[in-house]
Symmetry: C2
Subunit: 146 residues, 2 copies
DNA sequence: TTATTTTGAGACAAATTCGTCTTAAATAAT
DNA sequence: ATTATTTAAGACGAATTTGTCTCAAAATAA
């Protein structure tokens, strides 16, 4: 069961890198992040481009350019990132994919899944980059692979 | 967020078709199921082959052959199907895919995800084909698309 | 202006999942 | 025996996700 796409996982790691290692407002180069986090530069660029286009980041070209968070990290939530990179319907999934069922004629796991989905969505909606990032800057969590 | 692979979803639908429409012990032809459920015959064949190889089904070749459940439906659980078709590690997934973390140095959503995963696993382990099938044979749920 | 650095955009390639097709093997009926 | 029916096995193709590469556009610095 894969929850997040690579795009979401990488995008998130990049944002957390910024929160943990940079001052809010600084422009951070994608190259630097791709090297620190061992993520393909071009792939990461595309991912962050999406986040920029959707207004989560701001970008600046040229020397000393890069990207920066458009909102303070405590106002950016997991759900914002995931919705952009994995789609608005990320939390709309059905568990068993039976045809012709749904709210009106639910299968035996429907209600369970409904509750689980709601909890997941709530968790994502209430966990901000700040919460995720604190532990990392405290060095209790790493972002790099090696 | 895709939970089940197509293989699991299709395999499950086939099993439920058997439970809902056939007597236990009958050999059901894959061709029939593929047509009733609008699933590619060859694809379904491969899926059910896996279930046969793993001992969940028994197959019989030749005219009036087909497959049949090797155990009564109330002894076959969601988790059995999913583990075969989506892998033993289906419930072992991490939520954020951060490198270098885990039980010892968990990210802020780790514990939440641990509980959620356990609940999901428990639900899958306690929901049998019988429970899923009852509603279907009562015609409160359909298996076909159209 | 010219060269350098950086993101933007899109074509392309590799890997995975999903689906199709062909041929073989087993069984049954004639 | 021969033919028809059915699953078994695996090659092959299509679609999606993931990752790479090239070139353009914007900004800076010399
Ligand atoms: S009843 Fe709900 S969970 Fe079950 S198969 Fe239908 S949509 Fe999915
Ligand atoms: S702490 Fe747990 S949930 Fe969070 S990224 Fe690590 S393994 Fe995944």
């Amino acid at each position: 069961m894969k929850v997040l796409s690579k795009a979401s996982a990488y995008g998130l790691r990049a944002l957390l890198y910024i929160v943990a290692h940079k001052k809010h407002g600084d422009y951070v180069s994608i190259r630097e992040m791709s090297e620190e986090l061992n993520i393909s530069f071009h792939f990461l660029t595309k991912i962050l481009q999406s986040l920029t286009q959707q207004g989560l980041l701001e970008s600046y070209r040229g020397p000393n350019g890069g990207i920066t968070l458009k909102r303070p990290p405590n106002e950016i939530f997991l759900i914002d990132v995931v919705k952009i990179l994995d789609g608005e319907d990320f939390f709309d999934t059905c568990l068993l994919s039976l045809p012709g069922c749904g709210e009106a004629e639910p299968c035996p796991v429907h209600d369970f899944w409904k509750v689980t989905k709601a909890a997941l969505k709530n968790e994502f909606a209430s966990t901000s980059l700040t919460e995720l990032g604190t532990k990392i800057s405290e060095n209790r969590l790493r972002l790099t692979d090696d």
